[in-house]
């Protein structure tokens, strides 16, 4: 029974491969779980062995991750990759003279494209949370923001956005001015203020969202 179902153990182990554990370890956990399944299986209950074994093996694989503190490590790994992507983007912008693709970022960070996209997605939440916290004087983002540009006052008045713009941190205001008044590209802004293009993109998106909220426009309009 064990030999017949080793293929099943292997297939199930492969399903958990993207969580960062070596396949050999997962196959070992799944194989041990298969042996346990045989020990615990009661044919009189009328349950198919493969179904019973699948449930047991997946349960053991999940316990393996839980016991290794995987959730905390995974959460950290996403944050680390997100930060790594910022550095990788800056480097690639310099090297390529253009914004890198996801495939290029994946190659540079040694991750899959899916992991890069996941980290960007998770990073959006991280970024938004940080913006909410930026009213705090101790916030490190505020500390890194540039000085307010005097010429910006006339722009905001013309745009009838003064109250909404005034609520944005100084650096975000500068970035909006560079993008929409001076017409700089995101990569050019990134070089100017010393952050990654991806970071500029996120700051712009968040700032525009905030402006839309303050002037009552639905972003989907």
């Amino acid at each position: 029974m064990i030999t017949d179902n080793l293929g099943l153990a292997h297939q199930l182990a492969r399903r958990f491969l993207h969580r960062g554990e070596p396949l050999e370890d997962l196959v070992q956990v799944a194989s041990v779980a298969l042996v346990k399944s045989v020990d615990r299986f009661d044919p009189d209950r009328g349950v198919d062995f493969a179904a019973f074994a699948t449930r047991t093996i997946i349960g053991e694989l999940k316990r393996h991750f839980r016991d290794k503190g995987w959730a905390v490590r995974a959460s950290r790994r996403v944050q680390e990759l997100y930060l790594e992507l910022g550095h990788a983007t800056s480097t690639l912008v310099q090297q390529l003279g253009r914004s890198p693709t996801v495939a290029e970022l994946a190659q540079m960070t040694g991750s899959s494209e899916e992991a890069v996209l996941e980290a960007i997605e998770a990073g959006q939440g991280y970024r938004a949370a940080s913006i909410d916290a930026s009213e705090n004087e101790d916030d490190p983002l505020s500390a890194r923001m540039g000085e307010r540009d005097a010429r910006f006052d006339s722009v905001e008045e013309r745009a009838l956005l003064a109250p909404a713009l005034a609520r944005l941190p100084a650096r975000e205001q500068s970035i909006l001015r560079m993008r929409f008044v001076q017409g700089l590209t995101q990569s050019e802004i990134a070089v100017t203020i010393g952050v990654s293009q991806m970071h500029v993109s996120r700051l712009l998106a968040a700032s525009l969202n905030e402006l839309r909220q303050h002037i009552g426009n639905d972003p989907s309009d």
Binding site: L8, Q11, L12, R15, F16, R19, A50, A51, T54, R55, I58, G59, K62, F65, R66, A71, V72, A74, S75, R76, V78, Q79, E113, E114, L117, E118, E121, A122, Q124, G125, Y126, A128, A129, S130, D132, A133
Partner: protein, 147 residues
């Protein structure tokens, strides 16, 4: 603010919200389903273990919908619906021709494994024939109210 909190999306999906994703029924595009499942899981307040379970489950759901059909010309449509109790996901394959006999046999085996995996990962699941297409669905219950 803790690390977990930093990563949680600030936007949430609430009762009755529905997200629909349609893409060509190709194995290499199932990544789209997993990415959307991740984004939605975060926004309905699932923890990272539940999120990973759902990513895996959504992949199996796609395989289940593809089973028994020659999907080379079809589209997969996923529907994510949020209710106070659960996240419901359905996956329907449209526009595909029926499978050949050998494809059908292979599909049956794959579908059986997918069903067993779903049984271990989600609270409820099932599949049914609907207008000649397979509609596979799952339900993952939420532990509490929206974050």
């Amino acid at each position: 603010m803790n690390e977990e909190g930093d990563l949680a999306g600030t936007d949430t999906l609430g009762d009755g919200d529905c997200v629909v994703l349609t893409f060509p029924a190709r194995g290499d595009l199932v990544v789209l389903a997993r990415l959307v499942a991740s984004a939605i899981s975060t926004r309905v307040g699932f923890d990272i273990e539940e999120l990973e379970d759902l990513r895996l489950a959504v992949g199996e759901l796609c395989l289940l919908a593809l089973s028994g059909s020659d999907a080379r010309h079809g589209d997969l449509q996923l529907e994510f619906t949020v209710s106070p109790e659960a996240l419901d996901i359905s996956c329907t394959l449209g526009g595909a021709a029926p499978a050949t006999a050998s494809q059908s046999n292979d599909g049956d085996e794959a579908a059986e494994l997918s069903e067993q995996i779903l049984a271990a990962l989600v609270d409820e699941h099932g599949s049914e024939q609907e207008d000649g297409a397979v509609r596979a669905w799952l339900r993952k219950r939420r532990k509490g109210p929206l974050p």
